[in-house]
Amino acid sequence: MKHELPKMLKIERVIREAEGVHTLFLPYAGEVKAGQFVMLWVPGVDAKPAGISYHQDGCIGVTISAVGAWSKEVCGKKSGDLLGLLGPYGNSFELIGENVVLVGGGYGAATLMLLAEEACRRSLKTTLILGARSEAALLYRTRIKAMKLDAIFTTDDGSFGEKGFVTDILQRKLQSEKVDGVYVCGPEIMEKRCAEICLAAEVPSQISLERHMKCGFGVCGACCIDHSGRRVCVEGTIFSGADLLQTHEFGRYRRDSSATKQPFA
């Protein structure tokens, strides 16, 4: 019978991406698709999903921001420490056409990085629009600089790049040229706005949706979305923006660990 116990892996190295944000590299020999996630288990604490932000040199990297009990534990790990891994899980982004735009907000950048690398490998005309609160919170700037793509940064406070929002840049981009596909990961309000902009411009969008997950493999029901019931961990996390706009909860609410609806602010 099919089964999967967590693999306890020795962390190969840890790098600091920003204040309180670390990437941990774990040995992983298998296949990884852009947009997939893993469940990271801290024994005795909890297991939570994390997007895969690197896949290189026989390792996967996961970028974690220390905000809660679990993420603080993860970020406190050093090279040589053990971490439990389940997955990778979920579907993946599919690159369409020749001219693609990737839009990331905050930590959403993590889930887009493998896709950005894939787009560059395929020599697509690639634009990466990344937004953050401030310069200090922008992730992967050095890494992006080495990529053959057009990177546009925005910050809420104007401390780096353009002052303003990624959605405005996306709108301008879609008005000024023919784009074949838009790929989005970030705060849900931003994602919804991106989906609306793409729908109006008749450009297909693919959006990575984040929901509370408990099992990661489609059994517990924690991440089922209204009203389709589709499981974000199995049929997602990547959905077409047009489809998500049809769902009742996109941009409106999500469920917490007790399955109680929590509206987005």
Binding site: M1, H3, L5, M39, C220, C224, G229, V234, S258
Partner: protein
């Protein structure tokens, strides 16, 4: 064509497969998704008096022999589920409300409130093996408690009542009889076995966030089949055979043990959300190959005449 339809305590089922409590069942949409994929009825995740976050993850772990789960009854609490389960007329199939309480008082509150919700039937869980304060861990798996709680719920809620029993007790048959005598309309047999534990030897810690979990899947099936077989001999109310049914042959086996309907849970992991359709197709094929035209013809066939 073999006929898979049946009536269970007044509920019309297109086939014998019912989504078992604990798998999906968090929201209306998670259940209609199972219905679209062939489930003839669905059971909610168990609802308690108070809101519960459940255990930390991992809440489900799989090993070569089956699956251990330790969800810990995460649910919004009975006062907050009206929004989710208040209107189930268009769900596409009957929805069974699963209720879990710590004692008679909890079950009285739950039954009264569930009576006002749109469930076509109620299932009470007296048998969870892994959540402190509930089920077998609260001593609810005795004939006395089973009878008392069944009666309390039946008095307050007139919907068909299913009582879900544990395989982890001596004298399971006595529990089933006690439930029947107290007014239960059906027996759901069985809950998960164990509890069990899987320890990760590198971190030296139990894998499940709740440390211990109920055993289901392949490992549970022979136990569940035996339980259903024994209960069938002792009671005359229908049995919802639950435990390790993953394919059509398992379904036939459970029906031959005496089950009227079938609870399907872990199989969603093994074969996908459309496992309900798959099991029905396979069951139909088996029945046709054996020249069996209805489920009733097969029910209890393993018992001596």
């Amino acid at each position: 064509m073999a006929d898979l339809s049946l009536k269970l305590c007044g509920l019309k089922l297109e086939n014998p497969t019912i989504l078992a409590s604990g798998i999906m069942g968090t929201s209306r949409a998670s259940m209609t998704y199972a219905i679209k994929n062939g489930a003839a009825a669905v059971t909610t995740k168990s609802i308690s008096v108070e809101k519960r976050k459940g255990h930390p993850a991992p809440i489900i772990v799989t090993y070569a022999g089956g699956m251990l789960n330790s969800v810990g009854y995460s649910n919004p609490g009975i006062d907050n589920v009206a929004d989710e389960f208040g209107d189930l007329q268009n769900a596409g199939a009957p929805v069974i409300g699963s209720l879990t309480g710590r004692d008679e008082n909890d079950f009285a509150i739950l039954a009264e409130k569930a009576a006002a919700l749109d469930f076509e039937a109620i299932e009470i869980v007296l048998s969870c093996p892994h959540t402190p304060g509930y089920g077998t861990m609260a001593g609810l798996s005795t004939p006395e408690k089973t009878a008392a709680i069944t009666q309390i719920v039946k008095q307050r809620c007139k919907k068909p009542l299913f009582v879900k029993l544990s395989p982890n007790v001596m004298g399971l048959v006595e529990l089933a009889k006690a439930a029947e005598e107290a007014g239960a309309d059906a027996i759901t047999a069985v809950n998960t076995a164990g509890p069990g534990m899987i320890i990760d030897i590198k971190s030296r810690k139990p894998v499940l966030g709740g440390r211990i979990g109920g055993l289901s899947g392949d490992a549970l099936r022979p136990i569940a089949v035996r339980c259903v077989y024994d209960i069938y001999e002792a009671v005359s109310i229908p049995i919802i055979g639950t435990g390790g049914i993953i394919n059509g042959e398992h379904a036939a086996e459970m029906i031959m043990a005496g089950a009227t309907a079938l609870g399907i849970g872990s199989a969603v992991y093994y074969r996908g959300i459309d496992v309900f359709k798959k099991i029905c197709l396979e069951l139909e094929e088996f029945m046709e190959s054996e020249g069996i035209s209805s489920l009733a013809q097969m029910r209890g066939a393993a018992h001596e005449a």
